[in-house]
């Protein structure tokens, strides 16, 4: 087939000029794109208003479609769970018995913890939840990992607030619009979270890799490498994330870093809780040095 040469304008001067101007605009478009790109690289929140405006329209649609899909998708699980219910019941009863002892011990420890903190007169910022909202869609075609939260400034959500799911940390809000907010997830290649190992508090950093896993590096080499099975929680360092939110479980030991699987699996996320940004206690005032 000969290519359709509809672009060839013939002898009409006017058509020739308009085609020429079209190409000028197209080449200018490359430059405009480059300039926009430069601006958004140097000042990432520059166009957040535009993005938030679009999200205002897409988020309700995503939410509506999501409700329908979830309704239909829950039917097979409902039928399946009906059959497996006996075995599950026995298993759960056993588990409850086993965990009762642990729970009692944990309650005693928590009470003791509160008492000791009172004795020390320790000042701690309150960990407050702002709102529970649904994550409606994500940047599925991009190599960045953003999720769209269906709550925004009107609901008290602001940029910088940490977001957690039922199982663990999801990420933090980076842009907030009137009714939507954009969440930078922990698995984004540009996300770094200060963490510590649950069992001994060894500090480290958990950075997103872009493929759904986290790369964990210990801060001090003396504390040793993170080993498979270690649970990592936020340390509260840096002031954004409140301490003790579960983040990831180490799966594989690397050479100078370990691989970890985030505890909040993104594809299973629906609800998320936005928390108030955590501020660590201010440093103690300088000692009075007068004689």
């Amino acid at each position: 087939m000969a290519s359709p040469r509809n672009r060839r304008p013939g002898y009409s001067r006017r058509a020739q000029y308009s085609l020429f101007i079209g190409y000028v605009i197209a080449i200018a478009g490359v430059l405009v794109g480059a300039v926009l790109l430069l601006i958004s690289k140097l000042d990432p929140p520059a166009f957040s208003a535009l993005r938030a405006g679009t999200a205002e329209v897409t988020a309700p649609v995503s939410w509506g479609v999501g409700s329908v899909v979830r309704g239909i998708g829950s039917i097979p699980g409902w039928i399946g769970s009906y059959f497996g219910v006996h075995g599950e019941n026995a298993r759960l009863k056993e588990q409850v018995q086993r965990q009762e002892q642990v729970l009692l011990k944990a309650r005693a420890i928590a009470y003791e913890n509160i008492r000791l903190k009172k004795l020390l007169n320790m000042r701690e910022p309150a960990i407050e939840d702002i709102i529970n909202a649904r994550l409606v869609s994500s940047s599925a075609s991009s190599t960045r990992r953003y999720a769209l939260l269906y709550a925004g400034i009107a609901q008290g959500v602001h940029a910088g607030m940490p977001v957690r799911g039922p199982d663990g940390l999801v990420g933090r809000v980076i842009e907030a619009g009137p009714d939507t907010a954009r969440v930078l997830m922990v698995i984004d290649p540009e996300s770094v979270i200060p963490v510590r190992r649950l069992k001994d508090g060894a500090p480290g950093f958990a950075a997103g890799r872009g493929d759904g896993l986290l790369e964990v590096r210990p801060i001090a080499m003396t504390t040793g490498q993170f080993a498979p099975g270690d649970i990592l929680v936020t340390s509260g360092t840096g002031g954004i994330f409140p301490p003790n939110v579960p983040v990831a479980k180490v799966t594989e030991r690397g050479r100078d870093s370990a691989l970890a699987m985030p505890l909040a699996r993104p594809d299973a996320l629906d609800f998320a809780t936005v928390m108030k940004a955590y501020l660590p206690p201010p440093p103690p005032p300088p000692q009075d040095t007068r004689p």
């Binding site: 601006i39 897409t58 999501g66 899909v69 991009s142 594809d267």
Partner: protein, 169 residues
């Protein structure tokens, strides 16, 4: 194809002529609104694929500068830094225009090769712009490119169907 309409009969309403291509490309970009939280880049760039299909099958349907507004819209919904699709799509379309001048005849296979090149260029360029080199996304990106290239014929069929609708409208 049905009988070609008479040369004198007004075939289409002028609004439908450009509304169908425009809406289909915007709809392609809006596929990112699917209610699903992705762990890695899984979704092909449908907006770009629809736009390429229109460009390769009906060069007269959209202007030469069409990638600028469509790219801008795609940047707003895709999560890429604003301006990346504007630049990459415009570059890909200028390259396609230049190749178009050289090629004497074209069939679907060549269209597919051109579209594959443009899709790979836009996705790899977008990855380089959006994400640092140390990120572990390259294998996944390769899969994304392959899936998008394999899906292109279906998008092209859809666009051809829309084009027939447009002709009858």
């Amino acid at each position: 194809m049905s009988r070609p309409p008479s040369a004198f009969a007004p075939q289409t309403s002028p609004t439908g002529q450009w509304l169908i291509p425009v809406c289909s490309v915007i709809g392609g970009s809006l596929v990112t609104a699917v209610p699903f939280i992705a762990t890695f880049p899984v979704l092909p760039p449908f907006g770009l694929m629809v736009l390429l299909a229109w460009r390769l099958m009906r060069p007269d349907a959209l202007r030469v500068w069409a990638p600028i507004p469509f790219g801008l819209f795609d940047d707003l919904v895709s999560g890429q830094p604003l301006g990346s699709a504007v630049m990459l799509w415009s570059m890909a379309f200028l390259a396609i225009d230049m190749l178009d001048q050289r090629l004497v005849s074209r069939d679907f296979w060549q269209d597919w090769v051109l579209a594959s090149g443009a899709i790979a260029f836009a996705l790899i360029g977008g990855r380089l712009i959006a994400t640092g080199l140390e990120a572990h996304v390259d294998t996944l990106l390769l899969f994304q490119v392959i899936v998008a290239v394999l899906l292109y014929p279906f998008v092209a069929r859809l666009v051809a169907w829309l084009d027939r609708k447009r002709g009858r409208a």
